[in-house]
């Protein structure tokens, strides 16, 4: 199931999330918006690496991938993305 979510909190930039969720796992993922990530290409790799992770393990996998790629985020919180993914999985 493909879900689209738009999320903005006072402390973050706008996030447009598209996720394919099937059988408790993320099968496709696109995070778009006016947030910042340094280095930018590192974030591209982080995003790609999250395809295949479980919904339950999403946040820890996201944080581990950021650490591995040495990526700093500004205006995007992995916890918010994980919440959106969990909500979407519940609705599925």
């Amino acid at each position: 199931m493909t879900v689209e979510r738009v999320f903005k909190s006072p402390g973050t930039k706008l996030l447009r999330l598209t996720a394919d969720i099937d059988a408790g796992a993320v099968r496709g993922l696109s995070m778009r918006g006016d947030f910042f990530a340094h280095p930018e290409e590192g974030f591209d790799r982080v995003e790609a690496s999250l395809v295949g992770v479980t919904v339950a393990g999403f946040e820890s996998a996201f944080r581990a991938a950021l650490e591995r790629e040495g990526v700093s985020l500004y205006g995007l919180d992995p916890a918010d993305v994980a919440n959106l993914i969990e909500e979407a999985a519940r609705d599925a």
Partner: protein
């Protein structure tokens, strides 16, 4: 301390972004000193942040019909309609005394050059984290930073004038019904120098003021130069291979 000053006038968006990247390369490799550049845009151009979705943000058909180019930046942040504005970029090695490791401090410090420039035009401006500058609570400048090849690149805009109706004829809006509200929102929250000063400020006058502002706030001298031949060639190469390349523009 001296910064090289480039005033490259107006150019197309793909070249403008290509030259910022070329300067990043030449400063990174020590071929050129840290550099401050001022420029403008012709034709008018929508630039997208690195992580933004092209089809989320831009009405490409409307842009084509209006003769407006679309480019994706190598910096994050939001979509900008570049028309009546002064744009600057600054490139500094991360180990340079003017560089700040912390991102917020780095924005604040480099934006102090703009705040000083606004003061020279008679306006009391303030840095608003993470990446805006406000006058009387209204946005007058947006900025974006990246760190690559051991350098900081920050570029940003100073609005000479604002045309929200035109802007939202080029950017996607959730619905026609919401368009009026978004236009009003920009009218409430964003200001051009023309509105703030009650007169037109041209590209050259603005560049003079902000060059002086950067020099004073950063405590540097500016040495006016032309881009080197290799930088211009690299700018054209980046323009062709990246910024005018559909695969890059439609990357997200």
């Amino acid at each position: 301390m001296t910064l090289r000053l480039l005033r490259t006038g107006v150019a197309r968006g793909a070249f403008n972004m290509g030259l910022d990247e070329a300067v990043l390369g030449s400063v990174s490799e020590g071929r050129q000193p840290p550099t401050l550049r001022f420029y403008g845009w012709n034709p008018p151009t929508v630039s997208l942040g690195y992580f933004q979705g092209l089809d989320d943000e831009v009405d490409r058909e409307a842009c084509r019909a209006a003769g407006v180019d679309v480019v994706r930046r190598i910096t994050g942040g939001g979509a900008v309609f570049h028309d009546d504005e002064l744009t600057y970029s600054v490139v500094i090695p991360e180990r340079h005394p003017l560089a700040r490791a912390d991102i917020m401090e780095s924005y604040r410090f480099l934006c102090s050059g703009l705040v000083d420039g606004f003061a020279r035009l008679g306006l009391r401006a303030a840095f608003a984290p993470l990446n805006d500058i406000l006058v009387d609570g209204r946005k007058v400048s947006g900025n974006a930073q990246t760190r690559r090849k051991g350098c900081i690149l920050q570029h940003g805009t100073v609005l000479l004038g604002v045309d929200p109706e035109r802007m939202f004829s080029l950017l996607k809006v959730p619905s026609e019904k919401l368009k009026g509200k978004l236009i009003q929102d920009i009218k409430d929250r964003v200001r051009g120098l023309d509105q703030l000063l009650g007169r037109r400020v041209g590209l050259d006058e603005a560049a003079d003021a902000f060059a002086d502002g950067f020099a004073a706030a950063l405590g540097v001298e500016l040495s006016l130069a032309e881009p080197a031949a290799d930088e211009l060639a690299e700018a054209e190469r980046h323009a062709e291979e990246r910024y005018a390349n559909e695969a890059w523009t439609a990357k997200r």
